[in-house]
Symmetry: D2
Subunit: 336 residues, 4 copies
């Protein structure tokens, strides 16, 4: 059992709003990017990755966002379309904005970093008027991502989308996805994250992301329980706090905390772990699985992604996740 | 009786956050500004005027805001101080911002306009970190004004102030005070006004201001009742919708609407009517008067202000308002 | 004799480009602005003042500039027109820019300061395309002022105007008029001032202004002679370096330096001294007077302006200047 | 013979200022970029390419510019260093600027385009104070490139560099390299290009680039001769106007025009043709060759670059150019 009741009778299982960008992944890895000569292009951006993940898991999906009027933007739209994601809500910028980029550097499986290009990014130009109410009205679960709150007018588009989601009874999930470089200050970030989180049913983030949100508050011991309790006073039904290698804890309004088993992986890089986890977890919740099972499914999906070169392109299908779990259970997969 | 219970045991009756500026009122009136040669300087800005009004009515008051580091800024701070307003929450800008200006043009008592200087205005530079929680914690009634939502970082300062006011149980009043020139679009305005209004106990605005807030909604007949009902689903206890000469209507969650008698005035100009009305009305509510009596007191205060040359400087004391009402009742004052 | 040959057969004696703003002069003087309650409105801006000065001296004048689409902008246009200045080259901004303001503070005749409003000022929005070649082609003397170089697109408008002036053989005068607040850095300022000064026949500035221009150079003793010599390698025929109370020195390419007698004045404030000096001096040069006589005429014009409350409005006629000189000579005027 | 006398007794043959960026060249070519999956990273930017070209031709070279404080910036500095270019004048940005990018799309040898990332580019953050006078003082030939004029503070850095070059007697070359996307308007561009070109000895550009510079002028027939003549009134000794496939024409102050033979090439893409031409031509001029021979050498260098995948990395050595010319003369190379 889980505390979320998914609305029935809606045509779209899952819709998301926010960042659509290009990952340029180093082909020559385990070295500094200075020594990388070639890069491979993938669709990226946390909400894009999660939506692709949901589509791979068989969900009916849609996206609300904005792309640049260039080759990169058209590549993104094509890729979403090919993955069966409804792109009616994806508008094209006409102001000369560019596609956000993320060059990945993989010095070692545990030492990864990203070089971001976020100036004048098209996804941050989405306006409130461009948000299609009908798409959000038709979605059972609607996901927002923190990066889309970083700048106007995308920030206002997210708040308007939240109004629609609340009005039409969607389950709202918030993937915190805090990226400091597009924000003016942690204080600014905390204020908008807190405003948005009040309306959300499911909140997923790292301990550090929740710390940022508590910048104006008192939680000196950084207690997960205090963090979660705050949101149960608003709309939250599940709060997941991720602690990296130590695993994640899910809290529920009944006071319970939930942990799932984790799986071994032959790690290539850490990028995409959170996105595939979110997709797997939300898939489980939407199937009516209990929280622990949903978390385990998310963990296995994450293991698959971090074992491969890309993020979006590596998002697994249900049989792939099930197979991975079985192979782990049989001891066929061991950690790097 | 009125639906507001004022918290007891707090040292400050009334605090406000937002715009502090300079009014430059034409001395030669009833002509276009092109033909005006001299101007007189007053403190201005809607929340400043209301706070000055509350101070004149004998309330213990405080202000949270930001002034320029120049002669105009120091004049404002001195004037607030001389009126008994606690300015511990008024910080001084250090970035070279200027004091916002409002040149008034009075072509006739009914044809007034304002020439605004709002670029690089110090009041819009107030940051969330600069908002003093202790001042808001100590206030029985806390007022926000829409202009302070127009730009970052003042926008975030207001949301953080609202967090503090909610946390400490202040009665929150929202004077909509919509001034298009500092906003990017009506859509942007609607989004932040709606976010802020959810947390407010008392909302005061014109029909046109509420129309702006309903930009993404369905209220084609511009029904005051539908407008008010929306906010009773959130925190509101009183919603006042102003219809200019046709007077104001106050709505309450019990479904009732309230109108007050109006008073005649020898009108010099219309500026300041809303601010003095708000001060008088909130004063009445804080005395535990019923809504109609509070509205009448506000109306009389407004009449005094529009009969004189300034706004802030003309804010009346309680005996002045009482005297005005008595003179009206005796027929000693007739309209222009 | 003077080294400037004024072109004949041109319909306009004097045209200028640049700042058009409003001075708001304190009516209650000899006190800090905090204690000033009323202000009187005048047209201001150095090139505007000089052009008004030239018009009062009987010259045929024109102005190239930009005004805000508001009451202040219309007041400026009307005032220029009433003073006989051709305003065909004065365009109206349509972007919502405002009229630059200068509030004057007169603490004492020798302690004067200005509070400037230059954000989003209309005069700095003049574009190169809006500069009327025909007006500059028709002018005998064309004056630029440093403040117009402070920001784009006004900066480019000045360079384009200089191209036209050079092409059509106007005598080009440069009033340095350096106001730090509209510039990013002294280095940026130095670069554009030096670019512009190469093309100018007459350069007028204070020692401090020339110091700023020499930021990347070697003139450690701040020698006026070295300063002037640099410009004689380019187009300059007269370089005037002003040393405040110690008077001004004019240099010419023949190696000579020129000083004029100064006159006493009952000083109200120091504002406007430079503008009236420039008008008087250029008037003399245009009459074919020698440099000393032109400087003396400029000094007397300056004395008249600093003895009165306004700048633009106090610009004298030829009989007024002549009368002032005669009264000084008769000992009827003594210093404050 | 050629009209340029190269200064002797200077330690650096060739220095340039301006753009340093990264080219990301499509590996899968002859298709739209949407279908390109991998990219190879090279150093790019017109002045960088020309300097690399000069270094390959055996010249002692130096660069004045700014790189981002990231992996891309360090890659650029390393690459210049490995090519023997003195990077003492290359400073590192500390404001969070990024490295400019150029994704190349090669649909066919004659249908090539570039997707540029120029927002917040480090090279445009170079300030006038950061320009090392000693490096420019030590250079025989100093090259500026138009893109560096596109924005402040790089624009001012170029003008200051020109001051130094003029002061120390360097031969100044101007590669127009007009890229509209970083400029506000063609009018703005024309003004700064014209200001800079007045001080240059050698000006190289396409007919379209010279058209842009003549935006405020009269050259309705787009006459190359009129274009060139204008600059001979200033500092120019050679003006080269490029007409794409129809070849280039060089003009000299004596009224002569010069054309060189062209060579066939197996074209992969057109990028880099201008940069390698400029390097080859300037190399010839510096050897004291006549203009036609220098042009021919430049053409052959260009053929080598357009026959290969990269720009900077394909810049040829002297033996490679000589070998290419011989093979053309023997008929061993024919056009695509």
């Amino acid at each position: 059992m889980n505390p979320i009741t998914i609305p029935a009778d809606k045509p779209i299982d899952f819709a998301a709003i926010g960042r659509l960008c290009i990952d340029l992944n180093a082909n020559e890895i385990n070295r500094p990017m200075e020594e990388t000569m070639t890069f491979t292009k993938y669709v990226g951006g946390s909400p894009a990755n999660i939506t692709i993940g949901m589509a791979r898991l068989g969900m009916k999906t849609a996206f609300v966002g904005k792309i640049a009027d260039d080759q990169m933007g058209r590549f993104i739209a094509n890729y979403l379309h090919k993955n069966g994601i409804d792109t009616a809500g994806v508008v094209t910028d006409r102001t000369g904005a560019v596609t956000g980029l993320a060059f990945t550097e993989i010095k070692s499986p545990t030492d990864c970093s990203i070089l971001m290009y976020r100036d004048n990014a098209a996804d941050l130009k989405l306006t409130a008027e461009e948000v299609r109410e009908d798409i959000i009205a038709g979605a059972k679960v609607f996901l927002i991502s923190g990066t889309a709150l970083a700048q106007s007018p995308s920030r206002e588009a997210v708040f308007q989308a939240l109004q629609y989601a609340r009005k039409h009874g969607a389950i709202i999930a918030f993937d915190l996805d805090y990226r400091p470089y597009t924000w003016i200050s942690p204080e600014e970030t905390a204020i908008y994250y807190n405003l948005a989180a009040e309306w959300c049913d499911i909140i997923l983030g790292t301990r550090e992301e929740f710390d940022m949100m508590e910048r104006f508050e008192q939680n000196p011991e950084r207690s997960d329980r205090i963090t979660a309790a705050k949101w149960f006073n608003h709309s939250a039904k599940i709060v997941i706090i991720k602690h990296g290698k130590e695993g994640s804890i899910a809290y529920t309004p009944d006071g319970a905390s939930h942990r799932a088993e984790s799986y071994p992986a032959k790690v290539v890089k850490t990028f995409g772990a959170g996105d595939s986890y979110a997709a797997g977890f939300l898939y489980g919740i939407m199937q009516g699985w209990d929280i622990e099972s949903s978390m385990a499914f998310g963990s296995a999906a994450a293991c698959i992604v971090i074992s491969s070169h890309s993020c979006s392109d590596a998002m697994p299908t249900v049989p792939q996740v099930e197979d991975y779990i079985r192979r782990c259970e049989r001891g066929e997969i061991t950690a790097t």
